[in-house]
């Protein structure tokens, strides 16, 4: 049984359109994803693909005008809003993007102690600070007194100290120098190795591949492919979706081939493959039917042409 299972998750935001009328702006569309205990699953995608929304949806902290359909389960149990409220911070922890997610007026040690839900708060906080080489004097510091790397370690320390089984890391690496980044990502690998499930949200394929077991690629609000890390090799023939292949080939070491065009507005053409406008292999069928999700070579893909 998967630790986390997301099935057909769709999210739209309610927006008032004139007098007494509402319309719904879709932001996530029929998304599939699983995370097992002991694995790191990276969610890759350009900004605007809906990665952070996925994280917030799992935690149940989307704004109140969001409409959610589909099903999410945690250890086989349905994630209802009540269940999410009970699990937030206990079983499921978020590692946010930056120091801006820490209360500017509270010493960081205290903030990490608030994250501890079981056991002696001070002991657990000290323990996790030691684990991440944060001295005792750091406890009393305020967020603005931390360096970027230190802040990142405090945020991971909070997730570790919480004792959560599922860690959702939302873009934990941008702006870090390579050494600090490698270290930060290494932390997530370690957490997975001791039995946690880690959902690592990122837009940097190269760094995500160094720690992830599986990669879920998002495009325009949905997951277009779930591949194993090993599939990202050579010229990308093992990859299933043309978008994934294009991402892979756009890396400097793989030819630096740019992908022309822009992702579409969501809901613009509900009956076409979202990637069709930029896909070199697109046919008539792609324009008239949303490709269903199917299993392919121990992964998932949302493309009629993939084989």
């Amino acid at each position: 049984m998967a630790l986390l299972e997301v099935n057909d998750l769709s999210i739209s935001f309610e927006q008032s359109a004139g007098w007494l009328r509402q319309r719904y702006i879709p932001v996530l569309h029929q998304l599939q994803l699983t995370v097992d205990a002991g694995e790191v699953v990276a969610v890759l995608g350009a900004s605007g693909a809906g990665k952070s929304l996925l994280a917030h949806a799992i935690l149940g902290i989307l704004p109140s005008h969001a409409r959610i359909t589909g099903e999410m389960t945690y250890r086989g149990e349905r994630l209802t809003p009540q269940r999410q409220a009970a699990l937030r911070g206990m079983d499921i922890a978020l590692v946010p993007q930056s120091v801006a997610y820490l209360d500017p007026l509270m010493p960081v040690g205290e903030q990490v102690r608030h994250a501890v839900k079981q056991g002696n708060k001070r002991e657990r906080q000290r323990e996790s600070f030691r684990l991440y080489r944060l001295g005792e004097e750091v406890e009393r510091r305020y967020p603005f007194q931390l360096s970027g790397g230190m802040a990142r370690r405090v945020l991971v320390a909070a997730a570790t100290a919480s004792g959560a089984r599922l860690i959702i890391a939302d873009e934990p690496t941008p702006g870090l120098d390579p050494d600090v980044m490698r270290e930060a990502l290494g932390r997530f690998r370690e957490l997975a190795d001791v039995g946690c499930g880690v959902l690592l949200i990122s837009h940097d394929i190269a760094s995500a591949l160094t720690v992830a077991d599986r990669i879920a690629v998002m495009y325009a609000g949905t997951v277009v492919e779930i591949a194993r890390a090993a599939d990202f090799a050579g010229d990308g023939t093992a990859l299933r979706h043309p978008y994934t292949r294009a991402l892979w080939q756009a890396l400097p070491q793989n030819g630096f081939v740019p992908l022309p065009g822009e992702p579409p507005q969501l809901g613009e053409r509900p009956h076409a493959c979202a990637f069709a406008s930029r896909c070199s292999a697109a046919t008539d069928a792609c324009l008239h039917e949303q490709p269903p999700v199917r299993e392919l070579r121990r992964g998932l893909v949302r493309c009629v042409h993939a084989s």
């Binding site: 911070g89 946010p96 801006a100 209360d103 608030h114």
Partner: protein, 330 residues
């Protein structure tokens, strides 16, 4: 230690600023009084004008030094001020310092109570509105605040007077103590009874600013990334607001309240006038209308220091309490 080292030069700079401000304010007030059409002698004598001869009037003017050129009058006032003498009030016939002490004591109770009340009520209403953002409660609080903010305080005072003193007869119409009772026989209950309406008027003046400010600020905090993170950690409801909300809005709110001393003083002038409450505000109006230059200058200087201290406290609170503006040894 670092805090003190940082505060000393700042405090010195503030003192220089205050001195310059006092100089400017006293010159301006004196100039305005000079230009004013009110003749202090005439205002002093009042209805008896017909029975007082021109010689007698001149004698009074000479006694007060009003027959000398304005520059000389101001110079004399300044010299004695520097020696610690604020002069003698023309209308009360007592030293200005004594008038100030007596009037300020009366006003302090009024302003202090109103300041605390408006601060607490406004802060509470603001927090409530922000926590229930968009609900009917939020809308009612906002509506009340905007209405109060656009209500002239003297008009409100008259309305309260009409309702509670004239129609219902629950509260006295005015004055600080019951009429016809010796000072020694006035009880604290009497004083409180007379304070209710002025305090209420003055509090209402201050509530809306602090409530609307607190609401804005708390909504901003509740939409911040760090509150989202706190919610992701399972915090919610009152605990969340207590831990992250109040911590982040208390300092700006307290500062705003300290910085509102000028509005408080301005409100007191109007409220005391309507309720004939014998405080500093009423004395200000009296001094202005009857050309009592020494008293008016005394009040002006005193209120300048008062408002300046409020603003300085607001500023200092940030320097001492906010870790981000404290000097840090990282």
């Amino acid at each position: 230690m670092a805090v003190i080292r940082q505060l000393v030069p700042w405090a010195l700079a503030q003192c220089v600023k205050l001195l310059l401000l006092l100089a400017a304010v006293s010159v301006a007030s004196f100039g305005l009084m000079e230009l004013s059409p009110i003749d202090p002698v005439q205002a002093y004598i009042g209805a008896d004008m017909m029975r007082v001869s021109a010689e007698q009037r001149e004698a009074i003017a000479a006694y007060w030094g009003l027959d000398q050129p304005p520059i000389e009058q101001f110079g004399r006032w300044l010299t004695s001020l520097l020696q610690g003498d604020m002069g003698t009030s023309m209308i009360y016939r007592t030293p200005v310092t004594e008038v100030l002490a007596e009037k300020f004591t009366a006003s302090m109770w009024l302003m202090g109570t109103a300041w605390l009340l408006s601060g607490l009520l406004g802060f509470g209403a603001g927090v409530l509105a922000a926590m229930k953002e968009g609900s009917w409660l939020d809308r009612v609080i906002q509506w009340v605040c905007y209405t109060l903010a656009s209500t002239p305080s003297f008009w409100l005072a008259i309305m309260l007077l009409l309702a509670f003193s004239v129609w219902l007869g629950w509260l006295p119409v005015g004055l600080g103590t019951p009429a016809g009772v010796l000072r020694e026989e006035v009880s604290i209950a009497d004083r409180l009874h007379h304070m209710i309406l002025p305090v209420l008027t003055l509090s209402v003046v201050g509530i809306s600013a602090i409530a609307l400010h607190t609401r804005e600020k708390l909504i901003e905090v509740l939409h911040s990334d760090y509150v989202l993170y706190a919610r992701a950690q399972g915090e919610r409801g009152l605990l969340l607001v207590w831990r992250h909300g109040l911590r982040n809005i208390a300092l700006p709110a307290v500062s705003l309240q300290f910085a509102s001393f000028s509005e408080l003083f301005g409100g007191a002038v109007l409220a005391e006038q309507v309720f004939a409450y014998p405080g500093l505000g009423q004395a200000t109006v009296e001094a202005g209308l009857r050309g009592d230059v020494p008293l008016l200058l005394g009040i002006v200087l005193f209120s300048t220091v008062f408002v300046f201290c409020g603003n300085m406290t607001a500023d200092m609170l940030y320097r001492i309490l906010d870790p981000r503006t404290r000097e840090v040894k990282a």
